[in-house]
Subunit: 145 residues, 2 copies
DNA sequence: CTATTTGCAAAGCATTTGCACATTT
DNA sequence: AAATGTGCAAATGCTTTGCAAATAG
């Protein structure tokens, strides 16, 4: 199950944030995309709905959504400027297509064991992790030479 | 086993890069640190050895080292500006202390299975992954309230 | 001796901030 | 009506680029 723009709109309200057309446009832009989007790309998509929306509003909205844990950054070797919806569980694991940027998130089960091992070996107390897997999606495999 | 500054100096030479005092200072700065360092922090450390070194040289050196795979970025939730030595195997897995920034890398074994599962479920062909585990190192645990 | 590397200053971008105006509730 | 949110323009901060001088091999 994915968070939809409307669902998130409700959550924003719950936390006392106002539901403006601009925010809705940003939500719609992110929620409707299967890829991770840069702030610039989000601006472009949002402008299709709210032509007068400003770049600053994108940043401010992403900030709020990030603090609420509704949106998360996608990290890639060549930069970390992507954003996408978080899955409700709060996990942050992505499978990123290096061809087209399409991003799929997945619930991961094998890491708690790894973390346990690290705790034992290093004395660290772990609080979380970030996992990004890179590869090529079926479409890009088909279209590649 | 870790890459030392001298070892890397040799590798640079092998690839036809000149071994300047500035580059050596950068290497020493990164190799001698147990934490990941920002370009700014590297500049500071390098200046202790080569006072006249410029900020630009840090960026250019990091660029070369990165291309040769000798240095890699450390990704953290609040930014991705850290660099540290890569382990010779080329793995990119870090255990990062959220208290002091100390960074330990580890060889990970449990992910190939996960990748196999993802390939099966999504049709992606995976090419690699990035894994960062966050936590608190023993020292910071002791010093925390 | 020659190609590479350096440092400076300036340019480039993405992101943040200050502030008057507009809008949601 | 009051608090919040928006957009603009300017400021900021990190990174890159252009170029003449310096230097490694």
């Amino acid at each position: 199950m994915r968070l939809t723009a409307n669902r998130i709109a409700g959550i924003l309200r719950t936390y006392g944030y106002r539901l403006t057309p601009q925010r809705h446009a940003v939500l719609k832009a992110i929620a409707s995309s299967g890829e991770h989007l840069t702030p610039e790309a989000i601006l472009e998509k949002a402008r299709a709905v709210q032509p007068q929306i400003g770049r600053v509003t994108i940043y401010r909205t992403l900030d709020i959504l990030g603090q609420l844990g509704l949106v998360c950054r996608v990290h890639a070797p060549d930069g970390c400027r992507g954003y996408m919806m978080t899955r409700p569980t709060g996990h942050h694991h992505h499978l990123v297509c290096v061809g087209c940027g399409r991003t799929v998130d997945f619930a991961d089960c094998s890491l708690s064991e790894l973390e346990r091992r690290l705790v034992k070996e290093t004395g660290f107390v772990t609080t979380g992790h970030l996992l990004e897997v890179y590869g090529m999606c079926p479409d890009c495999q088909a279209n590649s030479p």
